[in-house]
């Protein structure tokens, strides 16, 4: 078990990098997922088709395949995902700015994949709002956008937040795959470094890694339980 103490800094570094990629991917997936959800509920049929196609592709492909496309497909197309080297962000999340693009590729894959699930969680919330609410808003002359913004979304949020949380927890666990696609030094890749390169026994390393993920996911789950309880009282 000495590895947990001797290599604490390695674990901490892996934790920090995983936290970074998850934080960025969560924000990206929430934004993209919201856009896709708006497409899927839009009154314009071609926009709905675009949203539905997106969800059908990214919800139904294994994340590993999406990561393959990001890590090997993007370079083949000549892209190093340099659009993610966003000046202010780059200084906080240094990996965004490195010449080695795999952090950016991993991030893109996680965002694309998770956004499909975010979209469906948001949409299930929208469907939970009684149809009469949107009808009343339309009868007043509110446009589609105003209807969403002032009437439907504020009420759908309640029904979306718990499934959204589950999607984000799943995303944190899914991020363990990025280490196999060129991202060096995240929590799961740390295990590989310590066991194959460092020669440390596997079980204590795996326990350390597990603790790292649990520190991120358990509080998030507890927060969701609290939100759910509060809503139950309000209802």
């Amino acid at each position: 078990m000495n590895v947990l103490i001797d290599k604490f800094d390695v674990f901490a570094g892996g934790f920090w990098l995983t936290l970074q990629i998850c934080f960025l991917a969560a924000i990206g997936a929430l934004i993209l997922g919201a856009v896709v959800a708006v497409l899927r509920i839009s009154p314009v049929p071609p926009l709905r088709a675009v949203g539905t196609t997106y969800v059908n592709i990214f919800r139904n492909l294994p994340l590993t395949v999406v990561l393959f496309f990001a890590a090997f497909g993007l370079p083949a197309l000549g892209s190093n995902a340099d659009f993610l080297r966003i000046p202010g962000l780059e200084s906080i999340f240094s990996r965004l700015g490195t010449d080695l693009p795999y952090f950016r590729f991993g991030l893109i894959a996680l965002v694309l994949y998770t956004a499909a699930f975010v979209c469906e969680a948001l949409r299930s919330g929208v469907n939970a709002v009684p149809a009469g609410q949107a009808e009343a808003a339309r009868s007043l002359g509110l446009t589609f956008g105003q209807n969403l913004r002032h009437v439907v979304l504020p009420q759908s949020w309640k029904a979306s937040v718990v499934p959204l949380g589950s999607v984000i927890i799943a995303m944190i666990k899914n991020s363990a795959l990025v280490g196999f696609f060129g991202v060096v030094g995240d929590l799961s890749q740390t295990a590989d470094q310590l066991t194959s390169a460092g020669g440390y026994p596997f079980i204590p390393v795996a326990i350390g890694i597990s603790v790292g993920y649990l520190i991120m996911t358990v509080p998030l789950g507890a927060l969701l339980d609290r939100i759910e309880k509060r809503q139950a009282v309000a209802r």
């Binding site: 009154p43 009684p130 009343a136 808003a137 339309r138 009868s139 007043l140 002359g141 509110l142 002032h150």
Partner: protein, 248 residues
């Protein structure tokens, strides 16, 4: 009552829900300031008729014109038309996350771009008019059904509509609350508001309507002044309907 061009004109309107012919060649014209009450058995298409007028239900063929203009397709022009036609629903449909006053001011502020303070002042006056000014800061769920429906009427009136559509406004209410809602509607009718009212309240039809329209099986069967309709219904279908509801 009727002056000049009619405000609402339906001409040869047909609509199907799958195989069900829910509106069968319906033509109806409603003059400015006229109160038309639509009655008929359940499933006769009267609610659907009401909802086609602001295109909450699109029609399959025929034409509907409002204030001289054919109903536009989805988009900004339709939103504008809807803002000029107030709608009151059977299930109130007040915005559950907003207070009563916010319900009433949302349309004027967001659609008409009125100043919030002015909209608030007018909203309070409208709530006072329907007798629930003291409930302004409560949420819909805290009000009785009758109060909620009066708030919904105030919300529709806040848009200063040219016409009001009522889709069974008292059907979801406890009996003792029906009167307070009908009182508001009667006073509105007295002020010359153009109204299309789908209802089972025969008393309201008798004393507040200019015309009674009877529907059955998607067809508009009779169209007559209330005194005439209730005394001498012409069709067998209407006689049968009236005998069922008036014997109790």
């Amino acid at each position: 009552m009727t002056t000049g061009d009619p405000l609402i004109v339906l001409d040869g309107v047909n609509k199907w829900f799958g195989p069900l012919h829910v509106l069968d060649d319906v033509s109806l014209s409603v003059g400015r300031g006229e109160v038309v009450v639509v009655i008929g058995p359940s499933g006769s298409g009267k609610s659907t008729l009401c909802r086609t007028i602001n295109r909450l239900e699109p029609i399959d063929n025929g034409t509907i014109t409002f204030d001289g203009q054919p109903l536009p397709a989805e988009g900004k022009p339709l939103a504008k038309l809807r803002s000029e036609v107030g709608m009151v629903f059977q299930s109130f449909n007040l915005f559950a996350h907003k207070t009563i006053l916010e319900n009433v001011t949302l349309g004027p502020v967001k659609v008409r771009k009125e100043k919030p303070a002015a909209a608030r002042e007018r909203g309070l006056a409208l709530l006072d008019r329907v007798g629930i000014a003291n409930q302004a800061d409560k949420y819909p769920a805290q009000l009785s059904g009758g109060q909620q429906q009066r708030a919904a009427i105030a919300r529709a009136l806040a848009m200063q509509p040219k016409a009001m559509l009522f889709d069974e406004p008292t059907s979801a209410l406890d009996p003792e609350m029906v009167g307070e809602v009908l009182d508001v509607m009667t006073s509105l009718a007295g002020e010359g508001m153009t109204m299309v009212v789908v209802t089972h309240e025969m008393g309201f039809a008798r004393h507040a309507a200019n015309r009674v329209v009877f529907m059955a099986d998607g067809q508009l069967v009779e169209d007559a002044p209330p005194a005439e309709f209730f005394a001498n219904p012409r069709s067998e279908r209407a006689k049968d309907f009236l005998s069922k509801i008036l014997t109790h």
